[in-house]
Symmetry: C2
Subunit: 387 residues, 2 copies
Amino acid sequence: MRVLVLGGDGYLGWPTALHLSDNGHEIAIVDNFARRRYDEELGVESLIPIEDMDTRVEAWQEISGKRITAYQGDLLDDEFAFQVLREFAPEAVVHFAEQRSAPYSMIDRRHAVYTQHNNVVGTLNLLYAIAKIDPDIHLVKLGTMGEYGTPNIDIEEGWLDVEHNGRTDRMLFPKRPGSFYHLSKVHDSHNIEFACRAWGLRATDLNQGVVYGQETPQTARDPRLATRFDYDAVFGTVLNRFVIQAVLGQPLTVYGRGGQQRGLIDIRDTVECIRLAVENRADRGEFRVFNQMTESFSVQGIAELVAERFPGPVQIEHLDNPRVEAAEHYYNVKHTGLVELGLKPHLLSDTLIESMFDIVGANKHRADTEKLHPQIRWTEVTEPARV
Amino acid sequence: MRVLVLGGDGYLGWPTALHLSDNGHEIAIVDNFARRRYDEELGVESLIPIEDMDTRVEAWQEISGKRITAYQGDLLDDEFAFQVLREFAPEAVVHFAEQRSAPYSMIDRRHAVYTQHNNVVGTLNLLYAIAKIDPDIHLVKLGTMGEYGTPNIDIEEGWLDVEHNGRTDRMLFPKRPGSFYHLSKVHDSHNIEFACRAWGLRATDLNQGVVYGQETPQTARDPRLATRFDYDAVFGTVLNRFVIQAVLGQPLTVYGRGGQQRGLIDIRDTVECIRLAVENRADRGEFRVFNQMTESFSVQGIAELVAERFPGPVQIEHLDNPRVEAAEHYYNVKHTGLVELGLKPHLLSDTLIESMFDIVGANKHRADTEKLHPQIRWTEVTEPARV
């Protein structure tokens, strides 16, 4: 299948491109390299060195014999978006091309506006391009489990059967997220659902949990194929960050008491979920939603798991929670859709964490421990910085 | 009370400013005059002549003895937004300052992006300004009944008590709107609810029905105080448009069979609802929602009502529905919140329609009948026009 991977230079976009290419699909990547610029802005780097796009693509061709086409450009540039869709003529578009950090979106007004504008308008341009150029293209869009917030009922996969005053309806699951980033994904979901209804587009919205891990079978084949691995408090996600803190001999920084729950997923399952969604497309007019996660843990539970597995002493430190979220809450997520398509989850009870210790250990000299502590507080409203 | 009316030059913003001023509040208006530029873009004009802002404000001072301060500027300009809030130091902000036409948002990609960017980013800037300058300011934000779409259950006021698998929660009412404009208001609502939760802001979200009528007790006091009255297919709302079509001897253009239902509200009730919301502010941290409408009619029912009341022959024409909406649907809207605050609704069984015939009759020479027919079809995706 011809698959266009938007945001194909990122933490998950790159391994997804390789996984799909390895599975026989014809792949093109689009990226504006915004993620690399956030590193410059924040003064951090991927813990594991990553190559530039040309080197990555050449290395993959050398190793696999398979070609990936790379386009540099921005979805905010509608002419570019239309041109790429016309030129590559994909059958599916996998859309990772969004600013994906909640703390980044909460830095200040400018970052909140940037995040919502970038994510919402980029996706709008994409929807128009698909509708105009080929409404048969299947849009596979990355959302986040954080869109749901923490309702006191079971979290269904995007839709909820509601009974109220003796009448029933199948409705979009009511969402109440906890940052301007998560909100941007809620806005996207609403826009995409409308485009399916109005224009008969096909879309799969993947509400992804917190991804952990750094290697996939494809990225492991050559150091030049490595994907990024973030440890800082802005872009580092919880389990990865704890692993890095353990290896560095730093305390694991749990926000609040750590009673807040997270849906998790192994990076190898992420790329496989995308493959399954791509190869089993949504119907015309269908807005299909999967919860792309495999198990739930409390943040404290994740910290304890990492501490238990690490072959050395580990301290757990409880910081004031910089986020706006419930300290304790009900969390029961339905996630059977992708399993029904064939996903065989890797669970944390597997050996993955141990393998991460080695990868991190080999690169620990690259870490700036000052970047591990959260500086961005949700409740603090900073002055608008000038662009 | 010191009340800032954003979008105070518009169809409803201006009468609201006068109504609040007349009721003893100290008023400032903000407008970027975007609405007047849409007229130029679309080649239409308000059926009733309106004065420029300076003349309006001077006329009001001459007639009422009351001063209204006018600021020209754009909420997208965050420095301007912060400056106005600092300078005027309002206790409440009434926010009408959004692109408010569904057909306009569906013209093409550029208009969809413009609408969502303008509405969502303008409101984000406002939320940051309130949070930073004075989180005690009460935000009274205009939403629309169209945010809900047409669920098969009763439409509650913004929140829904959900029972699911034996557990319960009070959740945001799930919305599924029918245009990129309506979606922009859904995005706003989610952003505002989060700002209330994260920063303890006070907000009232008014999901307004289709407003009809042109005169309020204040605007009627002098022709220079008139508010705009739109008859074109882009900005003209359904009942107003039918009245104008009847007077012009044109067929009333019902989209589809006219089975789709609309919540309606008299312009005099709109301005009174805003006063009630302003004078009975939401609590700190509260995201309060009212459905600002007083009765429901089918579009066919509205056409028949106008035809019945008009003292002459009227034809009803059924056009292909250019919108994406259910032809027939359940529609039962709860709207008791504003009545509990003291609203005494004007219903269509009153004499209002007849008085509109006279106003329209006096200005019918100004109408361009070609602008009455819808040109924008929701399902048609046009090429992106260059800005």
